[in-house]
Symmetry: C2
Subunit: 340 residues, 2 copies
């Protein structure tokens, strides 16, 4: 194996053709190269172990074959969050299949203003998972437009007149509907929805779905309990307070599995038996779900599939010049556990 880095020039010299021809062979422009020449060039490439410089290609053709994934987060979780990890996993797997690589970047919400992260990214497209309050998000939108890259936004609502942004999300509304119908069909007449204070679009959708389903059932009462955050202690404090004040829901629909599990501790302490005296549901069924007993009735998040879908949508967009579909919603599925 030689010391120096090989270039097209060396290959061209070895086969005695021009670099142009080598380039054509490498890029599969078969109609521009003779059968025999092609064979000889390929042989030389294999033999000498040449690999093209992606950097040089990128500089000249402004195609990077690389997608960026930027995650905005408040707390210390990022890839520790199972949703984010699953998204990244799906993205990575699908992009690899299409010959793209994935560059990941976590950005703290308050560092956003500098937006160094974005500016450094030299990619053909960007995937974004936002978080934080709406005003921050608004500034972000402005920023995104200035990047002139196709963008996939995860778990956000449809975009207005922004043609180069594609929204990909799971059917949170449908999930809310499924869960509400499920507990009602099992006898619930009063439902308590527990949500964190921060307004994630996904969570609003879930609540919206519950409301929609219950509208069709005039006899069923729905209340919303807002906990300060999605942390266990906050959820438990809010629920304890609610029950102390005489609240007696037939079913508690938590905004996600973690919150449902936190709520379960309170119910257990009070000696409430599930599902007889009270029902409980979560949302998402990530990996940790199976370690908790009882198994909480929940809805399966297609998180990895969201990532794969994003990869496909973006690479198509890069090839075709526009997004085929700018609002993609993936279905969720109810899983009955032991709590309903």
């Amino acid at each position: 194996m030689s010391k120096k880095k090989l270039t097209m020039k060396e290959i061209a010299a070895a086969v005695d053709v021009s670099v142009m021809t080598v380039s054509n062979v490498i890029n599969g422009r078969d109609h521009l190269v003779g059968e025999e020449t092609k064979r000889r060039v390929k042989a030389a490439i294999d033999e000498l172990g040449y690999r093209p410089s992606a950097t040089a290609r990128a500089l000249r053709s402004s195609r990077m074959f690389s997608i960026g994934f930027i995650v905005l987060y408040d707390e210390r979780k990022f890839l520790g969050d199972p949703f984010i990890a699953a998204l990244a996993d799906g993205l990575c797997a699908q992009l690899a299949e299409q010959g793209y690589s994935l560059t990941i970047q976590g950005v703290f919400t308050d560092e956003l203003s500098e937006a160094k992260a974005f500016r450094r990214m030299e990619t053909d497209g960007l995937c974004l998972l936002l978080s934080g309050s709406q005003p921050t998000k608004y500034n972000l939108r402005e920023l995104l437009k200035s990047l002139r890259q196709p963008i996939v936004l995860f778990q956000e609502g449809v975009q207005r007149a922004e043609p180069d942004i594609c929204s990909i999300r799971q059917d949170d509304r449908g999930g809310g509907r499924l869960l509400a119908e499920h507990v009602v069909s099992r006898g619930a007449r009063s439902v308590l929805v527990v949500v964190p204070q921060v307004e994630w679009p996904a969570i609003s959708e879930r609540v919206g779905g519950v409301r929609e389903a219950l509208h069709a059932r005039p006899g069923v009462e729905m209340r919303v309990l807002v906990s300060e955050s999605e942390k266990d202690a906050d959820v438990q404090a809010a629920l304890t307070n609610y029950l102390d004040q005489g609240g007696k829901p037939d079913a508690i629909l938590a905004a996600n599995d973690q919150m449902a599990i936190a709520a379960h501790t309170v119910l257990e302490q009070r000696g409430l038996t599930l599902p007889d005296q009270i029902m409980l549901t979560g949302f998402n069924r990530f990996n940790f779900w199976r370690y908790f007993s009882p198994k909480v009735t929940t809805v399966i998040s297609p998180a990895e599939q969201l990532g794969r879908t994003a990869a496909t949508a973006l690479t198509r967009r890069i090839d075709d010049g526009e997004f085929e579909d700018r609002d993609i919603v993936l279905p969720v599925e109810l899983v009955q556990g032991q709590t309903t």
Copy 2:
């Protein structure tokens, strides 16, 4: 905001200096630029919203400011695995701080031979998490050498005479020792270590640590139970079989938390109470750990810190030309749960 992409040329023209001077300002070569010139260049950059092309810089200087993370895996887990996710998280966070980006790539063990993943990577350094059997790993080593990039290997033993490979791992041996000493100090006289058949170096180390600690305690018996895989069903089958044949360990030390939790089901079915009749320990304490009851005594994995350490080691290596330390071991910490 202009349509066309800005280059250094435009900035240079705007301030009426040469591109060379703009380049010097951007790269902080302050001794080469006058105070006043520098100020004016910076003003123009801000005003016009110029950002340098990382690609062009990379082509010319062969510095990518990018690190690759390649994960070899057999099963469908990749970033779904909490260890991998934590590693990636730490890497990403620390690299971002140092102005580097992270490119992630998952590679199936059996696709390794093609090694396309590696060849495509244009990075300044590589982090690797291997898996699979030893022979595969051996081929890999050969491959790594041919890449001519500094490499960090996670959770592998020290490398022989390979100067540009740095091993970073947690103190699995020490963790094994801690757990063994702990159960012995609480009265265990016979210890059963449960490991999966696949030989991960990290797991061999854990077993080695247990053996080491028990050597110092002549009265204590140690046995090793090999389960076909680390899957729940396999662990449970192996343990059931062992107990059926009359095995009566005082303590079961599982190779990790998942396996400990799987084992717990078997102990529970048999009506064994923990920790009185039998003790149980795991390893790693990832996020899911807290969802299981009882809390299993375990050891905290510094996984995220391993990632951060890798980032620091690699960027230093890139700047200094060689690794400062080629075998870095991070400490683990015992957490007593309710099972010992």
